[in-house]
Amino acid sequence: MSFLKLSQVTFFYPRKLKPALTGLNLGLEKDEITAIVGPNGSGKTTLTKLMIGVLQPAEGEIQLEGRPIAGYSLAEIGRRIGYVFQNPDLQLFCSSVAEEVGFGLTNQGCEPATVEEKVDFYLDYFELAAYRNAFPLHLSQGEKQRLAIAAVLANEPEFLILDEPTIGLDAYRKKLLEDYLKKVARLGRGMLLISHDAPFVNRMAERVVTIENGRIQSDSGRKGNAVYEA
């Protein structure tokens, strides 16, 4: 049974005659890193929003561990699937960097000492400790991106969806992110990457799914050896 399973999923944006996604069938597992690639506007981000229940399909069904995702609350989905938005400005809302990283943990009822320990760890790892008390939206774009990723990783979700996670990251920070994501994957947590960054995809992904015009054009299959040529 796939962790996330999409069956014949079709989606229309309001007042659009042409579907953004058409008849998609896809299963995602927790023991692999999958990348979805495709041209701008092909429906990649839309697909991930359906997977976390923010959008609902017009046709077809999405299941999370065998149950229709429509039967889960957004909070339940949020605990299982961590989602890093393409634009960190849409994700950051706390008054300090440390609060942002600890927000999810605090809301899950973690002990303050545990929250503090994890916040310290993630701020150190992503080199944000110097900005602990800064207002998140005053950071540079690359710093905001690292913060958004750190805040999601700190919750240690079972599955991660990262939409263009390397935007704004310099080569060094990209390497740090890759190392950490590989470590997360080794712990048995699944991952879906949306990216135009071909070298990043080729270093990270075990499976590459290509979408064009809202349809799956190719799928290297589980643990495939597909190479993404941008």
Partner: protein, 243 residues
């Protein structure tokens, strides 16, 4: 005469706060593409805001030193006259787009310059074709994908045809086709004598640049020919610009 002259440029976001830019001095010639790179948070976008006049006119920080564009000091320039000299494409297109349709977005600046309607239509058609986004003409900019938004933001700035163009990671969300298209447009603009200052982390994407500037903690640590700097792997590795 150089198109952009920066002398002793420093900037603090708050009085008494840390210096985000530390005494930058450089010049950029007409018809030159200069790429600014450096680790996140080193001051690249702040430099763009200073060069475009956005900091001088819209922020309360402390700017010292001078920025000259085509012989004019940006401190003495205001609104429309500044926009006619320098166009800037922001790193995050969501902060730049505001019109109900792509067409309106691109027409906004020419309309505000009171250009004749025929000329505005011609300009809109031209930049839509140039960037390959004509099919998005009637779309709501906020409903576009990240990469499409970047192309529309660039198109809206090109509609003013500024002699100096500043683009802040304008290719970061583009697919390979989009990156090639934007690179070709930038090269074409250089051929027309435009001056381009581009912030970029992906140095392979801007191999066509004439020179590179490397910033580190707000200071300019190197300014060199692009091919010379890209070939200096010891320097690039030591500065963590390649891994």
């Amino acid at each position: 005469m150089e198109a952009v002259v920066v002398q002793g440029l420093t900037y603090q976001y708050q009085p008494g706060g840390p210096f985000v830019l530390k005494g930058l001095d450089f010049q950029v010639g007409r018809g030159e593409i200069v790429v600014v790179t450096g680790l996140s948070g080193c001051g690249k976008s702040t430099l763009c805001f200073c060069l475009s006049g956005a900091i001088r006119h819209n922020r309360d920080g402390v700017m010292a030193g001078e920025v000259g564009v085509n012989g004019k000091n940006i401190r003495e320039m205001r609104g429309a006259s500044l926009a006619l000299e320098v166009g800037m494409v922001f790193q995050d297109p969501d902060t730049q787009l505001f019109s109900p349709t792509v067409e309106d977005e691109i027409a906004f600046a020419p309309e505000n310059l009171c250009l004749p309607p025929d000329r505005i239509r011609e300009t809109v058609d031209h930049v839509l074709d140039l960037l390959g986004v004509a099919a998005l003409r009637e779309a709501n900019p906020y409903q576009l994908s990240g990469g499409e938004k970047q192309l529309v933001a660039l198109a809206a700035v090109l509609a003013l045809d500024p002699p100096v163009l500043i683009v802040d990671e304008v290719m970061s969300q583009l697919d390979a086709g989009g990156r090639k298209k934007v690179a070709a447009v930038l090269e074409r603009l250089r051929g027309m004598g435009k001056t381009i200052i581009a912030v970029e982390h992906n140095l392979e994407a801007v191999a066509f640049a004439d020179r590179l500037i490397v910033l580190e903690n707000g200071a300019l640590v190197r300014l060199d020919r692009a091919e010379t700097l890209l070939a200096d792997r010891n320097f690039m590795t030591a500065r963590r610009l390649i891994c």
